[in-house]
Amino acid sequence: MAKRESTFINMVLTLFVVTFIAAAALGFVYDFTKDAIEVAKMKAQSEAIKKVLPEFDELGDVCKVAVASASDSVEVFPAYKGDKLVGVAVKTYTNKGFSGFISIMAGIDTSGKLFGYEVLEHSETPGLGSKMADWFRNSEKPGQNVIGKSPESSKFEVSKDGGDIDAITASTITSRAFLDAMVRAFEAYDVESEQLKIKNTSL
């Protein structure tokens, strides 16, 4: 078969046909995988929420809460056991990581203390900044543990900056970013708890 010549009409037609077929094929694959992607995402999210909160039966409606310290709103998931609120999970984030964006699920119980956290997404240095997944919940080292603390009881800043939390060795920037995300979570919690009247109904 002879090679098609590079005339204007041939080129336009070829490019059109190639892109048309590619687009159609992609549309088909997208449709096919759309549900599975959604399921995988939801699963990862609900597993993270389960890890950061006390036992609960059902999740309330997701609310998006605007916080003063950031341009993007954060998602807040209230969790109920029976009719009683047991805590809220806040999907918080920071852009101050050593490699930028970090997304963390933070669980705050009804007394306003941090119950647990789970790092969802990060691109920090493996072996250094990536230690934040476990570093801040080491119950043997109270200096670096953030679980059970609240902004009222301790200052959420690294000890180098005059705060109460010990930073990860050799990863101060990541530690600052982590605490920045935590502060944002508490901020969202405060805004949200007023709306949900958590403090009135459960305390």
Partner: protein, 194 residues
């Protein structure tokens, strides 16, 4: 015989990483563990195989002057397929490879094979060529990732081999990639000489 040659040349004689030094960005970027190397390698292999086959099938329909954009569109389509499928069925691997999956589009190995091989050969040869080069790339990434993972985090395929207290962290960081790659290239050259 001839097909075997097309297939096997990717491993040693024309290994894209160790000999041709192509695709350095994903090579150095994702190989902080063996499993990442394997995932990246297999994703690239799939794209190489499919794009090589399709391009060798349609090569006569595509006018010379627009062949590069046409090839890129074909390659990009397959990369997006890989991306969507990984996102749906292996989300954890997708998360750790992240940015590098869309970058397969501009991986010069893929376009290089399309331009240098698939656009001149028939579909069977092109399939073997794509598979061989792809698996050679996978082999190189797993080797590099494995060595870095063992030295840098004391694990291999996520199985702990020795305590994390004795690891040399450098090897999972960027400089470690260059150092290990340099030694591997030296060793491969030595083997090829004999």
């Amino acid at each position: 015989m001839n097909q075997w040659k097309n297939f096997s040349k990717g491993f040693l004689k024309e290994n894209p990483v160790f000999v041709l030094l192509l695709g350095m960005c994903p090579t150095l970027g994702v190989t902080s563990s063996a499993i990442n190397g394997l995932g990246m390698g297999l994703a690239t292999t799939f794209v190489l195989l499919m794009s090589n086959m399709v391009i060798s099938l349609v090569k006569n329909q595509i006018p010379d002057k627009v062949r590069i954009p046409s090839f890129i569109v074909i390659i990009a389509a397959f990369v997006t397929v890989v991306q969507l499928v990984m996102q749906a069925y292996v989300p954890s691997l997708y998360k750790s490879l992240g940015l590098f999956i869309p970058l397969i589009v501009v991986n010069c190995i893929v376009l290089g094979r399309a331009e240098a091989f698939a656009s001149k050969n028939n579909v069977v040869s092109s399939a073997f060529d794509g598979l061989g080069i792809g698996l050679g790339f996978t082999f190189a990434l797993v080797l590099l990732g494995g060595i870095r993972e063992v030295l840098g985090s004391g694990k291999l395929f996520n199985i702990t081999i020795y305590s994390e207290n004795y690891v040399t962290l450098l090897f999972v960081l960027a400089p470690g990639a260059f150092i290990v790659l340099g030694y591997l290239i030296a060793i491969i050259n030595r083997i090829k000489k004999n």
